[in-house]
Structure formats: C-alpha cells, structure tokens
C-alpha cells in the first residue's frame, strides 16, 4: 500500500482491552524483588521513570513502591494469582485495575508534537527514549505515558477516555489538512 505509516503524520487508536494490575511493594526488599521477578521473568524496574518489558508483562515504574503491570487480558487473572501466591508472606498489594483505565496509542512522525500540545514533559527522543514512562497531564486529564518502539501509549482513567479521545482528535486536526 502506498499509504504507509510514514505518510500519515499522526494516527490515534484506542488500545485493545488488556490486563492492568497495580503492584505496590517495597523494592528495597530482596525477597520481594525475587518473588516478583520470579513471576514476571524480568526484574522489576527500580529506576524512576523506566519500564521493563518481560515475557508475561510490561512493568511501568509509577513510584518508588508502585508499578503498573500490563499484560494480555487472558493472562490477567493468572498473573494476579501468581503474584499474590509468591508474595503471600510478604507485604505487597496486587490490585486489578484493568477496567479503571483506558489506553490510547499515538503513532507517526508528529506523535510527540501532538502530545506536546497538552503535555509539559519533554518528549524529544533525547529526553524521552523508548521505554520511558511518566505520569503527567495531557490537557486536563491525568495520564500515564509510555514510549514504546512503535508509539506513545497513554493510559487515562476510564471516565476520562471520551475527553481524551476528543482532545487527541482535535489536536490532530492540524496534521490532517
């Protein structure tokens, strides 16, 4: 097709429903880290504003003791159970928030520019490389923003999804002349 992604300055799509868990635990504790890594098959990202993509889930650092775990919807219950089992004797919390958040993917050469209309974070690749994650504002919505190899992914509270979609489409108008 002639209409490759490169030809479209920016595209916006709702992300498919996926599993989302909020994990809260003390990452200073080696037992906890091991218990979690055992399930995720990847170490929990402890560097601020980073993420780690494992086989089972992608872990997004949200705070010193808080992560958002993204997984396939089919794996959600299993992942939660496995984490809770591994962490049973440790102080940690795994809460299903799959329905609480909606996700969007913003792709294309103008993706960062579009987001910068409402987000004060520096999204230039120098400052916001693949895998970086922040919690910030997009216009008047709280967002969790992740840069992947292919796109920007942003998660908003479910009730903000309609506003966010409206805002993104409106902001994209400039590139659809």
């Amino acid at each position: 097709m002639a209409d490759t992604m490169q030809d479209i300055p920016v595209a916006i799509a709702a992300l498919p429903e996926n599993g989302k868990l909020i994990l809260r635990a003390d990452a200073q504790n080696a037992d906890i880290r091991a218990a979690i890594a055992g399930v995720l098959t990847a170490p929990l990202p402890v560097e601020p504003l980073t993420s780690m993509a494992g086989d089972k889930a992608t872990a997004l650092w949200l705070g010193p003791d808080e992560w958002l775990l993204l997984c396939a919807e089919a794996d959600r219950a299993g992942l939660q159970q496995a984490l809770e089992a591994n962490l049973a004797d440790l102080h940690a919390s795994v809460v299903d928030v799959s329905d609480a958040y909606s996700g969007f993917a913003v792709t294309g050469p103008k993706a960062a520019e579009l987001l910068s209309k409402g987000c004060a974070i520096d999204l230039h690749p120098v400052a916001f490389a693949e895998g970086k994650v922040v919690r910030s504002l997009l216009a008047k919505a709280d967002i969790t923003l992740l840069r992947t190899a292919a796109d920007f992914q942003l998660y908003v509270l479910r009730s903000f999804a309609a506003y966010t979609r409206l805002w993104l489409d409106d902001a994209a108008r400039e590139y659809r002349g």
Binding site: A100, V126, R158
Partner: protein
Amino acid sequence: MSQSHRLPAGGRIDRSRSLSFTFDGTRYSGHPGDTLASALIANGVHLVGRSFKYHRPRGILTAGSEEPNALIQLGLGNRTEPNIRATQIELYDGLTAASQNRFPSLEFDLGAVNDTLSPLIPAGFYYKTFMWPQRGWMTYERAIRRMAGLGRAPDGPDPDRYEYRHAHCDVLVAGGGAAGLAAALAAGRAGARVIIADEQAEMGGWLLSEGDTEISAKPAVDWVEKAVTELAGMENVTLLRRTTAFGYYDHNWLGLAERVTDHLGPYAADHLPRQRLWQVRAKQVVLATGAIERPLVFGQNDRPGIMLAASLRSYISRYGARPGKALVVFTNNDSGYRTALAAHHAGIGVAAIIDSRAEASGPLPQSARAAGLRIYEGHAIIATTGRLRVDSVRLGRLAASGDRIEGAGFGIPCDLVAMSGGWNPNVSLFSQSRGKLDFRAEDGVFVPGQSFQPLRSAGACNGVLSTADCLAEGFAAGAEAAREAGFANRKPAALKVTEPDCPAAAPFWLAPPEKPLARAKCFVDFQNDVTAADLKLAVREGFQSVEHVKRYTTTGMGTDQGRTSNVNALAIVSATLGMEMPAVGTTTFRPPYTPTSFGAIAGRNIGALFDPVRRTPIHEWHAAHGAKFENVGQWVRAWYYPKPGEDMHAAVNREVKAARTGVGILDASTLGKIMVKGPDAAEFLNRVYTNSWLKLGIGKARYGLMLGEDGMVRDDGVTVRLGEDRFLMSTTTGNAATVMTSLEDYLQTEWPELKVYLTSVTEQYATITINGPKSRELLAALTDDIDTGNEAFPHMSLREGTVAGVPARVIRISFTGELSFEINVRASQGKAVWEALIEAGAPFDITPYGTEAMHVLRAEKGFIIVGQETDGSMTPDDLGMGWAVSKVKPDFVGKRSLTRSDTVREGRKQLVGLLTEDPKEVLEEGAHVVQVALQQPPMAMLGHVTSSYYSPNLERSIALAVLKGGRALIGKTLSVPMPDKVIKVTVTEPVFFDPKGERANG
C-alpha cells in the same frame, strides 16, 4: 490608488505582485513584504488615528511593535480585532482596516474639542473632577469611557482556532536580529537544541533596514539569508518567525505567542491555528531583544509626519517607501545623520539637520556636511505646525545650559520630521526575569545588570550599538549558553563588518518649547497623551515615586506599556525632583511584552474541551432512557428520569415513592473506592476514622466519619472488610481524589511505620444500588450463589458471588433507610448488569431513580451529605453524630481538636429538622433562620437551611438546618424571612421517616 509615495526601486518587497486593501473605506494597494504601515506610507497616508485623551491627529511613529499611535481596528465581523499595531500587520490581499477613537471621521473628529480644552484637563483631571456626588461616577464613567477607549471588541464568538505547544530546549534565543542569529548559530553548531523566536515576518532585525552595512564584504542582508538558511538546515534548531517572546517567568519558563496564519488573513488554511501559544522551558536563555529608539520631547512633537529616525530609515530602505518630500532631522546623536543620508540618497529632500549638541564632528556628520546637508548645531525644535500633518518646524539656538533658547526662533517648512534621542536597550524580558537594571550615565540608558536566572543578554539589548559588537556578543552568548547547557564548543570567529561609526547619544531630555510648557504640548507618552507638563504637575502635586507618577498621569500604560516613553518620563521626573535617574528607579516591566490575544491564552480549552466530562459506565443507558443529568464536579450523573408529561417534581415524587414501596435502582458508580491492603490496614482505618475498626469482622461493613485535623467533618462512607489485611473503603463522589491523596500523605509522612498500601479502584467498578422492600427478591432472581435471606445476609455485611452471571461484590447497606443492596461489578460489565436488573425487575415495576430522589430519600432519614450539611465547620457532635466517635481510642485524626474550647462550647450550630407551618411550602436552601423576623435586616441569625425538599412519603415539605444551639430549640417556632414574606417553621429532630430504623433491617 497607485502607490504615489513608493521609491522607484529597492526594499524587501515583491514589486511583481500588488495587493489591494482598504483603510477607512478607501482602497489602496501595496506589495507582498509590506506592513499596513509601510503600505499606507507608500500611499502618502500618515494620519492613522486619534489620540486617547485629546483626540489629536496621530501618525505612524515607528516601524515596530513599540508603536504607540498607529493602532488599528483590523478585519470585520467576529474576526475583527482592535488596537493592532499597523507596523506589525502584514499586508494581504483584501485586508480591511479602520482607524479608531474618532467620530465621525478621522479627518474631522468631534472629540478633538478635548484638545482645545486641554489646559482644563491636565493629569489627574478625572480623579479631581468626577468625585462628587459619589454616586454620579456611575454616570460619568459611561460617558468618559465612550469618549476615551480604543477599538471595539467583536460581539460574537471567535471563529478561529488557537493552539498550545509545550517545548523544551537547551538554548532559547529571544530575538532574531544580528545578535540573536549569531547566538543561535553558535549554539546550534554546538549541537544544542535551540529555539529562536522573532516577532517579525523575517529574521534579521535592523539588518534588514541598514543599507549601509556590510558583513564579510557583502550586504548585511546576504549574511542574514545565509544564517537563516544554515539554521533552517539544522535538525536541532527551531526557527519561529512572527513569534513574540511575551513573558519570562520563573525557572526559565517563557511564553511565546506565534501568529501562525494572521498574515494570511482569509487565505489561511482551515486546519491551521490562527495563533499558537508556546510554553518553553529552556536550560539557557539568550536575550537578543534589540533596542528601541527614544523620541525627543519638544513642542507639538506628535503631529503626523513626525517619526523616529531609524524607523524612517526602515521605511525607505526596507520597504522602498518615500515617506515625504522635505525632511527635517532632530537628533542628539549621530544616527540621526544616518537617516538624513539614507533619505538624501533615496532622493528625499533634507531641509535641515537640527542637533542639540553644540558640535557634531563624527564621520556621519562629516558625510552629511560633505553631501551639502544643512546642519544646525546647538539648536532644538521649539514648536511645529500643521493640522493633520506637520508642515513646518520652528527652531532656536540652545543656551549653553540646554534648558532655554537664546534669541528668536525661526521656521523651516517640511512634511517629515525624523527624531532620534538615542537608543534604549529593550530590557523588558530581562526585567521580567527579575534581572536588575544598571544605569549608564553617559548616554542615560538602563542596561542589564545582575540576573537571577540562567540567561545572558547580547547585542543592542545589552547596551552595545554597532553591528560588529552585536554579532560578537551574539556569538559569545550563544557559545557560552550552549556550553552551560552541556555542549562543548568553540566560539565562532569574528566577522568583518563595515558600518558607519555611530557612538552613543548625549542625553537631551526636554527641548525648551516656544510656548509656556503647560500649553506647549511636549508629548512624552503618545498613546496616553501625557506631556512633560503633566509629569511636572504630578511632581508639584506631591507624587515622588515613579510608580505613583505613572498611575496619576497614566504615562507608560496602555497597549505599548510606554515602550517609547518610559525613560524620557523618568528623566523628566527625576530632573524635576532634582534627583539622579537611578535614585528614582524604573517602573516594573510586566508580561505580556506586547498584547497577547485572549484566544491564544484560552487555546483549545473551549467548548467540549473546556473541562473533562466524566460519565459512568452506565451513562448511555440513562441517556437512552430520557434521564436528565446534573453535574457533580466533573461527573455527569442521572438527576431524574421524567416520563412523558412529567415535570421534575412529579418524576422525583414517583421515584422517591417507588424506592420505599417497590424497588428503585440507582447508578452510584461515582462514589470513591480505595483498596486498603496490609497487615496494619485495620490500625490505619482506626486512625483515619473517628470510630473503632480493629474488631470489624471479615465480610462486615461499617460507616465511618473522617475529620480534618481541625476536628471538622471532611468525608464519610462505608468501608467493608474483605479479609484479615484487606478493606474496601468508599468515599463521597466529590472527595474521592482528595481523600486518596490525604491518606497517602498520612502514610508517607506521618505513619511510615504502618504497613499499608492504598490503590484507587473508583473506576474499576460500576456500583448499582437496588433499594426498597422488593430489592431482596430482585437480587435473589439474579444470583444463585449468594444467600439473600435476612439472617444469611444481614444489614451491614458483604457477600461475594455472581450477579447476572458476572462476579460481583454485594454489600447490604442503605443510604435511604430501606432494605438496600449495593452491587459492585467490573466497570465494563456495569451496563449489562444494570440492564439485567432492569429486565428482572420488571415484575416489581423497578424504577430507576436519580440523584435528586436519592437526596430526598436520605433527607427523610436525616442522613447528612458532606458538603451540604457540612461546610468545614461542623464537628460530629454538631451533626448529632457523636455516636460515631469512639470515646476509648487513644487517637484518630482530629481527636485533639474535638476538645478545643471552641469545639465544646455552648451555642455551636447543630443539625436539626425544620417543618413549615404550611406543609406545601418548601423552604429555600440557604435561607436564614431567625428567632424573630424584623421589618428589615440586620436580624440576629440562628443559622441556615442546608437541605429542603418535598417529601412524597410524608406528603409534606421537610428541611434540614444548622442552628445555633439547635437541639435546645426543638419544639420551638422560628421564622425564615424571605423577600416577600416570613415563613414560620417548627424545629424538630432531623429524622423524619422511620426514626427507629426498622426498615433497613427488615
């Protein structure tokens, strides 16, 4: 009309194309590259407006954004915009512009009577005159505003789009003249991320107007083109033309206003914004904002045809216009001669150069002499003549002291006067950044001193004058800024510049006028019609602070913020006070640098994007079934569901009755929900709620009150124990986020030893309340794994199972006093479960009810709503809820405050019920309650009505109120005074329905 005043050649205009435009209804033509000002001048039009106060004819003074006079009403309809500087309006075909502040026409303006009366209306006239009678001001003001004022705002909504953009860079360069371009080149070549912004259509600044300057042995404009091409080719450089850096805030955060399509007028593409507001966070800033020429203050120095000297040069060499035929230059420095020579070379007659200095001997004066131009050294203009355009100047020989004229004055006919009082470094942004200004006495200018943010000033804004110095400072500043931002580099080599030597000016603040000063009209602030006499009057009347003088005389106010007038005003004030200029100080520079449109500031935060609208997972069903909605913060909730023919009252009555007699169903999804997890979870709840939580059994629910540290009720809700170390807390809709934040705050800062984690799950679940005697049967119909019997599933308990085939958490709690179940399912399943309940409830005539019915139902029971019965000043005891406060717990948030003298005193406001004498009368919420109603206020107030409804179950009105010593007043009759009557009420207990609370347990 042909462009009668266009030079035969030259200028950066595209002579191959003509653009047609109208000004005050007359059609003219210009070329691409023209501004409205240059096109008007090329058509011989100098008269473009009437002044603010005296309605004096005014012309184009400058060629830049500092213009005080040529303020134009641009465009038509809802796109019209007032007070736009003609010097910044780029010409497009079909442009429509009009002058302002005149009636009936620019040439004949009735308001000009003010000019004749001017001796009667000096500074402070309005303050002094329209004081009595005081109430008269309301009338005076309207008339005065009509007389004054500038353009007019459009009536309808703005049809254009405005966008925002956040940006980050290593080096932000404000200004794209010689210094700015040099700084951007140096920083860009070092690899730094650079943004360079310039307010004009073309980068280059004054280099575009100086035909006598060469850089590297080529015309200066060639270097500009080369520099811009190089910058445009750098991926790390963003070039922003038509972009004003208007605000410099803390942490190197700057606001830029980009005029994206203003210059295209109606030809702008639809999808592009008209303007874009940039918010830039820069590691380093280079200010290269140039300098602004200073007018000279002399008698009648405001007539059309009198311009700043360098601006005149710009109209000649940049725009190829011929602003007049006979020029007089009045100067205190050599750059006036530069203008005279430029005019002379362009074929404009130079009638005289009048120099306030006793001797002019630099290279430029010598060239002028060599060209045969007439020079009057040690002279000053003492008056001008001409009604709508200057037609002569009168001059005289200055005494050695400079403050009076010796001998008789004489006249020289002319149609153009160029004045040059030297150059004021444009320190607005520097000053906005909190930078301190230093005074340089030799040429009387303020230059940047100590700065408090990572910035550096370069070029003319830093007080240097030559192009060579501007380039050198620009290169150095750009290189240094990049280095500070982490990019090692070598400063670019200096460029060879050929330009006339033009040393700094000798200060000359006020030319002694021919007439007495009070009648001489020596204007200092052109936009606000402030004269030297006004300033001296202000000082005589006792104003000494420059800030006071500014406000009394209005000098330095208005859309130009005194860009051309401030330093002159300051000099005249300090001379009158007999003080040094630095001792008097400057007025404050505030953002925006130039007026910034409201559209740009609002951006896309309009209409549907003004604020997020949050909808519940079941919203679509409500909408499809005719619900009326109400806003609860950002949430939109179903308010009531009118059936055909029903008004709100009828619908709410029906819903309220159904919820007590059959089964009602409510969407309660907006309630805040927080998962509380950890071995110390019960202890944590014990500290944040007023009652006891340690012994709550698993599967049990409990109501809790949350206080602020001041002991006042802040939130309430029901929390259930899901497991030994796990609770699900609910909060009010409005406080969900606040409670979450404050609880997290307590855990992180006050009780870090508690092992508790919180996670907000407000939006994970849809919450559906079924309510009424039939609700048990309904629930039983949709579950096969929850025993709904009264014994098996008692009030204030939780069961987990499936409802309508999906996993659900069901809590038996009640906000209505009826048998009631709250069903929580995943948000994505909420609508399906609601629909299943509606379907299964059909045999019971299930009735959806909204927030209004919910409020009536809970008021019948005297249940409080936080934020309605409470206002941050109610303790649990005030609300009659002392039962919810543990007497034995060692501590909880707010406990200590409950024993303060003020919280235990007699006479605090307490929650009570009110019943009106007339059962049909519904009190107004917020109405005040008094013991005895007097004819008119003031009356001793006891308190106010917090909730008031018609209760269909009681078939009468009910109200809740908070009254001083309220509980002692139960049984008494009080009054509620209204504008048209006094309503008698009896004070009661706040529970109106089922006071024993038997129904919820049934």
